[in-house]
């Protein structure tokens, strides 16, 4: 007994030592194959596999089966009684952004989320601790046409380039209703702008696409004239219209923030008029009213389980929304739109299952393969299948249980969150903190200003939903 205790202490010390040199730890993990044994594999696309093993090699899921043997040097995790779920895909996130809204203009398609990523945002680590591995980072909803999105894998602690989801189709944020029309509120210091009504929002979007069509024609004319050898000045490149041309050509996905049924119908018919399809409807609280029309258009829907009434257009909502749209044949996902909710998206799925009578797999699809389909990345993530990226998490219980906790989260086969490692490093962090606080530059200044109030200690939904925030902090 005593010797076991000593061994335990030694293990702790080793873990602490590895935490202290994170680069060494990472290099080791990168090269290492991992075998997860005896787990319940919630594959999502191929049912639940009891007492099964999953082998990770070179960042991919190499094998799934029973009684797999570990290659030389592989890390073996005994997951008896535990569950493995594909990494959760959050189809609507504003984590790791230094700016959320460019709220000055009604069309800000020239803005790129890619320009303002903050890979050090601690909320990313918290999302990993909730089993989330992929985020669709969206511009806010202040404008009828917002900025360009960025899909990322949460490689917390790595350079920004490593976050970018390889080959994820580009997207753009649209927004309908209260937020872009702004007739019921005003940002301090900002003048009222066009549009002021839902009609105006429609016209703003149509106008932008007409301009985009003209721009494309102008570029084509220039190329043709140049080819004929004419002396023509080069036309200006327009970063605002170029992404809209891509939308018209079907190369860029539209993710539209929306609430009310009639404006959703409006956007879908506007899209059909210009010959493209809305890729996802975000929030879509009244989607249950027009689920068949959404299915017919071919849009995906990304909703909340039971979050509503934070503004007038968000009142006519029911907790069966996601389930009803699913039954109508819509590809439905659940999103967080919030750093806090991102940590418990499994609970969102469980709630929809409870209210809407979905099957276990249908519920799990809402946070895994469905959002992956919506983002066009389902060939790589969203389910446990051989050949897919090893983005997954080991849970202590079934993820649809309130008792479930994430034990370990893998992204591309590397560990980015491990509960035991986290616990083990707390002592070392406390020691480091004590040392750092003693440093001259960190000592409180006599007569200095009082410490600032924490920026985010406020009601989460004070003015509209948090799509309207300007910056993350």
């Amino acid at each position: 007994m005593k010797s076991r205790l000593a061994l335990w202490r030694l293990t702790l010390a080793v873990v602490a030592a590895t935490v202290a040199c994170p680069t060494g730890l990472r290099a080791q993990q990168k090269s290492k194959a991992t075998l997860i044994k005896n787990a319940t594999l919630l594959t999502v696309t191929k049912g639940a596999l009891d007492n099964s093993d999953l082998l990770i090699e070179n960042g991919k899921i190499a094998k799934i089966g029973k009684g797999l043997s570990a290659p030389d040097g592989a890390r073996v995790i005994d997951a008896t009684g535990k569950y493995v779920l594909p990494g959760i895909v959050d189809c609507h996130s504003h984590s790791m952004l230094d700016a959320v809204n460019e709220g000055s203009l009604s069309v800000t398609s020239m803005c790129r989320i890619r320009d303002v990523l903050n890979p050090n945002d601690v909320d990313l680590y918290r999302a990993l601790a909730g089993g989330v591995t992929t985020l669709n980072l969206l511009h806010g909803s202040a404008n009828a046409i917002g900025g360009q999105n960025q899909v990322v894998k949460i490689k917390y602690g790595r350079p920004i380039e490593e976050f970018l989801f390889p080959d994820a189709p580009p997207g753009i944020k649209f927004a309908l209703g209260e937020n872009p029309k702004r007739s019921n509120f005003r940002f301090p210091g900002q003048t009222q702008r066009y549009p002021n009504s839902r009609m105006g929002v429609e016209e703003t979007i149509r106008d932008a696409f007409v301009r985009a069509r003209d721009y494309k024609r102008q570029q084509d004319d220039y190329a043709a004239a140049k080819a004929r050898g004419e002396n023509v000045p080069p036309p200006k490149r327009d970063l605002q219209l170029e992404p809209l041309v891509e939308v018209l050509e079907g190369k860029r996905h539209v993710h539209a923030h929306c609430y009310r049924a009639e404006e959703i119908l409006m956007l879908m018919s506007l899209a059909e008029e210009f010959g493209f399809r809305v890729r996802t409807l975000q929030h879509v609280l009244e989607g249950y009213k027009i689920a068949r029309e959404i299915a017919k258009h071919g849009a995906g829907a990304s909703a909340f389980a039971d979050f509503w009434s934070y503004k007038v257009e968000a009142y006519d909502a029911i907790p069966h929304d996601a389930a009803l749209m699913t039954r109508a044949g819509v590809v439905v996902s659940l999103n967080s739109d919030d750093d806090g909710r991102a940590r418990r998206l499994n609970m969102e799925a469980a709630r929809v299952m409870k209210y809407g009578d979905l099957t276990e797999t249908e519920a799990l699809r809402l946070i895994t393969i469905n959002p992956a389909i919506q983002l066009g990345i389902d060939q790589r993530v969203g389910s446990l299948e051989v050949g897919k990226d090893a983005d997954l998490a080991i849970w202590t219980a079934h993820p649809l249980s309130v008792y479930a906790r994430v034990e370990t989260t893998f992204v591309d086969g590397e560990v980015f969150f491990d509960r035991q490692a986290d616990l083990a490093q707390r002592e070392a962090l406390a020691k480091e903190r004590a040392e750092l606080e003693a440093a001259e530059v960190n000592r409180p200044q006599g007569g200095g200003a009082p410490p600032p109030l924490p920026a985010r200690r406020r009601p989460a939904y004070r003015a509209g939903d948090n799509c309207m925030q300007i910056t993350k902090e």
Binding site: N101, V116, G189, L239, L436, E437, P450
Partner: protein, 669 residues
């Protein structure tokens, strides 16, 4: 004569619209024209370009270094300065600053474009927007040239000179694409004299400057800047095509904003990105890569984390000496600071050492810190492993190299510009004393406790001669007592000697000599307790007289301390005759004070400005503070007066937006 001196002084003190005067040589007491050549002898020389010379001489002539070495003989016509105990370095360069501009206190009107100084007109304010004809958003103004905005009496030049800086990169203050910087000398007679290189670099800070218009977010800032660079490329292509063959082509519009980006796009002009955090630096390098620009990172607090990328981009850094530190008080109820913040503050001190090890060239910039404090902060980087000679290099040669001026600045080498400093003590030690500063071969008057002109009033005694100086209505008067004879001293003048280390006095007196009365001129120098000098009569110098200050006048009422040495209430009530010193010049003034409890009221009579009411006067122990507002050249200037009383003497300073001037004074009984 007196009047013109006074206006010169006022100009110095209050920063009027007048050009900065040359330190009117004809009005300097006891002084001929400024020397053309100086030699600092027996000093330790740190040339930066080579090994230090433990004991050597440096000679400068007509603004250039003409000789440096251990066995250099000072030329006969050079003014010799004793360098014993001093170390001579090349003049320091601040690698990024906003100095030399006019105070930005005036409310900014509509964008005025680049105003040019016209004599007698109010000083131009840095424009807040782009040019009038620019259709670009606020914050986009690459057309702005710092060289058009610098003034010899501009903000921050004086403290920088006093601290030992002789050149600086100065950058238009605001905006996203902020404009183009200039390398300037920190002293000169006209704005054009200051400019060494313009434009030195294009400056970009990816930050939000607008509250409502586009762009009002960091995302929009990037989009706007990216669009502008694309437009500049198209602008150039359009013009190129048009110049080649205008027939049948629409005339391109002239756009000075886009025009200003072209040298950056062709890599002729480096682009300084103001970026501190790791991700800000990465974003800047990404942007530079996107448009094939030559990046320099200014601020660069977390540059150590991206050393690989900096190296790959062949980027250099202008490292801020304004190291982050906690500026809040302790509060038990407050959340603890994030670990990342605690780490970042400590890590920032080691950035310079890391960059040095990684072989990334960097120069130091003051980063908005007081120049003297910034130099002392270099020590913190040295403590983290930066070799001391590299630290000196980052203040001298490196910035010159980064901006392509190493052929004329940055080292003590023959043929280079005579920008140099002589320091008593370690340059990086906060206790150092700047002994000499030369800019373009001209000696800068240094202020500080050792060079504040000392009040001459009182009695001075030498062999059988007694001099008594008194002040009446701000006018210094003197009498000599020879035996029982009282002789009036005429044409009495005070000043500072050339190296500003001693006060000078000059007067004329009729002396009994050889049974007759002869007019003699006395020229002397004095410290607080000794006055040395000699009379000259008939063109012949008499032996030197050494005066000692006579017994101090009997202690007046209101002594500063009681028997136990504790401060007791001091009563400032009365009329104080004070002399405000500005460099070698002085300006008499009168403070009329009325104290009631700890409140102080009264007036400040300052030369021809008339008298100004004191406001908010407060007395703490024997310290007084008050504010006054005077009109000068149509401008209202706010002055802060503070002083410490001791018996019937008062010492303190007057602070204006242009700087601080010390004063001393007495209260006649």
């Amino acid at each position: 004569m007196l009047k013109s001196t006074v206006s010169v002084l006022l100009c110095l003190l209050l920063g009027g619209a007048l050009r900065m005067p040359t330190l009117a040589q004809s009005e300097r007491p006891g002084d001929v024209a400024r020397p053309r050549a100086y030699a600092i002898v027996n000093a330790r020389l740190v040339p930066v370009s080579g090994a230090p010379i433990e004991r050597g001489t440096i000679v400068i002539r007509d603004g250039l270094i003409v000789a440096v070495g251990a066995d250099v003989k000072p030329p006969a016509d050079a003014r010799q300065l004793d360098g014993a105990g001093l170390t001579v370095y090349p003049g320091l360069m601040d690698a990024a600053s906003h100095i030399g501009f006019q105070a930005a206190a005036a409310p900014a009107g509509p964008p005025t474009g680049i105003a040019r100084a016209t004599p007698g007109a109010p000083p131009p304010v840095a424009p807040v927007g782009g040019l009038v004809n620019s259709t670009r958003p606020d914050g986009f103004r690459p057309e702005l040239l710092a060289a058009e905005l610098v003034r010899p009496n501009g903000d921050g030049l004086e403290p920088a000179r006093q601290a030992g800086f002789t050149t600086a990169l100065t950058v238009p203050r605001d905006g996203i694409v902020m404009g183009r910087s200039a390398v300037i000398a920190l002293a000169g007679e006209s704005p054009r004299d200051l400019v060494i290189r313009t434009p030195a670099a294009l400056h970009i800070a990816f930050r939000v400057v607008s509250g409502s218009g586009y762009p009002n977010s960091l995302m929009g800032v990037f989009s706007m800047t990216r669009q502008a660079f694309l437009d500049a490329q198209q602008y150039q292509a359009h013009w190129t095509a048009y110049r080649a063959n205008p027939r049948g082509m629409k005339r391109p519009t002239d756009d000075p904003s886009l025009e200003a980006l072209l040298p950056a796009l062709s890599r002729d002009l480096p682009v300084v990105f103001h970026a501190d955090s790791e991700r800000e630096i990465i974003r800047a390098l990404d942007f530079a890569q996107e448009f094939n620009l030559r990046p320099i990172i200014a601020g660069a607090r977390e540059a150590e984390k991206v050393a690989d990328r900096l190296k790959a981009a062949k980027a250099t850094a202008l490292l801020s000496l304004n190291f982050p530190k906690r500026n809040t008080a302790f509060a038990p109820e407050a959340d603890p600071e994030p670990l990342s913040l605690l780490r970042a503050r400590v890590a920032a001190l080691g950035t310079a050492a890391t960059l040095h090890r990684a072989g990334i060239p960097f120069a130091f910039q003051t980063g908005g810190l007081a120049p003297a404090e910034a130099i002392s902060n270099v020590k913190k980087a040295v403590d983290q492993g930066l070799p001391a000679d590299e630290a000196i290099r980052a203040l001298t040669l490196r910035p010159a190299e980064i901006f392509g001026l190493a052929d004329r600045l940055g080292t003590l080498e023959v043929g280079k510009v005579a920008n140099l400093i002589a320091v008593r003590g370690d340059l990086l030690d906060a206790k150092r004393k700047m002994a000499f500063v030369f800019i373009d071969g001209a000696m800068i008057n240094l202020r500080g406790s050792s060079v504040t002109p000392i009040e001459l009033s009182g009695a001075w005694e030498a062999q059988g001669v007694k001099l008594v100086f008194t002040r009446e209505n701000n006018e210094l008067k003197g009498q000599a007592k020879l035996g029982d004879k009282d002789i009036e001293l005429r044409e009495l003048r005070l000043g500072l000697d050339e190296d500003a280390s001693l006060a000078t006095v000059r007067f004329v007196a009729d002396l009994p000599r050889d049974g007759a009365t002869k007019t003699a001129v006395f020229i002397g120098k004095y410290s607080s307790d000794e006055l040395r000098g000699s009379f000259m009569a008939d063109g012949r110098a008499e032996p030197e007289l050494v005066f000692k200050r006579g017994t101090t006048p009997p202690a007046a009422a209101g002594a500063a301390t009681d028997g136990n040495g504790a401060a007791v209430a001091f009563d400032f009530t009365g009329t104080w005759n004070i002399v405000v010193s500005f460099g070698p010049q002085s300006l008499p003034a009168t403070l009329t004070l009325q104290q009631s409890g700890s409140d102080l009221s009264g007036t400040l009579a300052l030369g021809p400005l008339g008298s100004a009411e004191l406001r908010g006067g407060k007395v703490t122990g024997n310290r007084m503070e008050a504010a006054a507002r005077v009109d000068f050249g149509g401008r209202s200037v706010e002055l802060q007066v503070s002083g410490v009383g001791n018996g019937n003497s008062l010492e303190g300073s007057v602070t204006s937006p242009q700087g601080t001037a010390p004063f001393t004074g007495t209260r006649p009984q």
